[in-house]
Symmetry: C2
Subunit: 492 residues, 2 copies
Amino acid sequence: MSKGLPKRSEDYSLWYNELVKKAGLAENSAVRGCMVIKPYGYAIWEKMQRVLDDMFKATGHENAYFPLFVPKSLFEAEEQNAEGFAKECAVVTHYRLQTDPDKAGKLRVDPNARLEEELIVRPTSEAVIWNTYKNWIQSYRDLPLLINQWANVVRWEMRTRLFLRTAEFLWQEGHTAHATAEEAIAETEQMLEVYATFAEQYLALPVIRGLKTPNERFAGALETYCIEGLMQDGKALQAGTSHFLGQNFAKAFDVKYATKDGGLEHVWGTSWGVSTRLMGALVMAHSDDEGLVLPPKLAPIQVVIVPIYKGEEQLAQISEKVNQLKRELLAKGISVKFDDRDTERPGFKFAEWELKGVPVRIAIGARDLENGTAEVARRDTKEKSTQQFATLADYIPALLDEIQENIYSKALNYREEHTTKVDSYEEFKQVLETKGGFILAHWDGTPETEERIKEETKATIRCIALNTPEEDGVDMVTGKPSKRRVYFAKAY
Amino acid sequence: MSKGLPKRSEDYSLWYNELVKKAGLAENSAVRGCMVIKPYGYAIWEKMQRVLDDMFKATGHENAYFPLFVPKSLFEAEEQNAEGFAKECAVVTHYRLQTDPDKAGKLRVDPNARLEEELIVRPTSEAVIWNTYKNWIQSYRDLPLLINQWANVVRWEMRTRLFLRTAEFLWQEGHTAHATAEEAIAETEQMLEVYATFAEQYLALPVIRGLKTPNERFAGALETYCIEGLMQDGKALQAGTSHFLGQNFAKAFDVKYATKDGGLEHVWGTSWGVSTRLMGALVMAHSDDEGLVLPPKLAPIQVVIVPIYKGEEQLAQISEKVNQLKRELLAKGISVKFDDRDTERPGFKFAEWELKGVPVRIAIGARDLENGTAEVARRDTKEKSTQQFATLADYIPALLDEIQENIYSKALNYREEHTTKVDSYEEFKQVLETKGGFILAHWDGTPETEERIKEETKATIRCIALNTPEEDGVDMVTGKPSKRRVYFAKAY
């Protein structure tokens, strides 16, 4: 197959879009800003969901489902949150269509079916969930309340990109309530660590764990924690956030609990989420000019086997050996596809599976049959080797682990090479233009300076990393004193 | 705990609503007609999803995700479908809110952010999916296209009931495209059989497999297949539908494929779905005045163990034995909860787990410790027996199978006792009023007679069962000839 994929070095943005479409992950739909997630892309998302869901349950959370719509009066209740999302809300105003009297065969909104109160399509569910929690929480015995929801949300975006920024996206949103601020903060930090573990161990994406500046906080939160990864074009991508909500939502929705000693207190809240944006991170962090490079732990197909044969008899001989191997690998939990299509040549198949990022490709031909061998090709390094067929059932699982690790190491090396300490604004701008990546610089802690740097360079403070040692310094722009370097980058 | 549950015999409808709420399955939300699915209810839904999803994949289907919104012009394209759903559509007309200039702290729809084209919140996704298929299908090599989607949909209902009829509900919708009518019909029938198998083997609900009359067909389908179950109040419930769409959507959206011999043909379609309505069926088919009765295969907790102890030392002894048993049962894939809360008495716990329908309850007290025994109680028959503790790890799995089977048999017996052949309209009305259930009667095949019976008795034709033998007879109302009895019932 001809991939027709642009090179990353020539047009990274176009490469990304074309790759997402050509590899069968997603495409634009007829609905402005909304995407269709295609079967191969959805299969990866399902793997992500399964792993994350297990991690949420292992930390004591349960799933539930809350309404898609938020009545305007509820949406308004927490003011900061409402203000933060008001500009990007899809609003349902009517509940019926009727035949258009002026246009044959067409429908129009029925003017007599206007809702008394408009419904907002949820951009996030704090309002509708906290309004429910009011009835679920009476006493300290009801706490902590640890709930997660898998859902679609809508945020009206003017400029959209597949997976990274779409009007509708899929996500999970955790919403928890606690008796004390300390417990809520511990939950916020725990879930950040769950996300970081997922990113590093499954996405193979090293991430910086940190706090957002007040400017970049979730609307309605007292503190927003985040994980930030670095893409191959030197831009950062926020891969997950976990918010300490304080008592903001508890107060807005009057959620109180009877304490052990007979008092009545507002509860403390958190919320945390990751979305189909992770699909974008996965693509941009690892893939190359030939196509996707999927970490084995998230690859829907981990091993593809391509027979190279002349005639039915050879195919039958190869198939017999392959089916045996397939059974052995499946028994070890490895997903294998035997691509015995007779409509395509091996070269076409190689290119197709390369494009789709299958971690390991095995090819078996007539000579291999004679020699008891097979050719094993890694997607990540493109290395090929000849292996004894009889040892493959042991060799492949170890190879998949090695590939998972190698993809992570490569991303980590890239990040380390693209993390620069700078002490002057000149150097900052120069590094940003030439090399990109994360820039560690001192900041005076004011929103004004942050804003100025953003306007002048398009770089934002990605986070104040957790557990960074104090270091006396001066803000590179204002010269004011600073206690700590923060992470700057241009970002998605 | 005091359950405060009404009796089925007194008010079946109230019993259902209260049970759904008190057992923690779902509750009404602040959003008109929309429900909150609570963690225990959602856990059952997740089990249903997992089983169905595996069945779909085993029959060659892949999951994908399509937009929540349908632009009006797409929605209109297949006229019958549009007409069928127009009266229950939620419509998005605006994409932004703004501060209300007249009311401090309030928001209003921004009059300058009106959409050029209204967006319908999907009541079903044929339109948006077939519009996509147009680009996915070019040649016979692209067929069959076998896709499923798990999603939320919205149908504006004036009178709603938890799970059975809600404005928003969760479902899966399969949408397939085929080269020939025969293949599409085979797919439609295959998926009906998947649903019937799921209903019978997992929900423990015997179902009639049949065809809907033209009146009751899905809007835009040439044929609608359905499965119909019988609830304990003698009313029928449609538990799943599978539609043969013919070429209606292919023509509306211009989906053609190049045939092997160089022709160009419209493809043939199917769609099929089951929803959170199945939760309602599950509750109404099996539960009793004490609470839920869950079939073991769908119960989130299959076994609950309640210790009966005085003092820490006894609890420690019991816990040690229980933890060993728990490990053994978990290894066999059985979910076990050890309810060692020290805040509630055993009687309270018994009542709570009864309400929640846990299939098996094990109680262990001081005398059991001495004797090496345990008390085992079945939720379905309420039988209790004393068992040797050492044999429980073998006894329990067999017992769960027996319970699953017994719940099914009980429902099947009920259905058989409540299926009546009648030959006169008088008898029909009398059976309907006194006994309810399915009534097998001759029908002349006209929509007029069907409509008249519906108006006069509220009973509808549930289906024309598949594989029923021909039988000469006359319509009980009109006296016109009939070749076959059909299933009538009052229905949810």
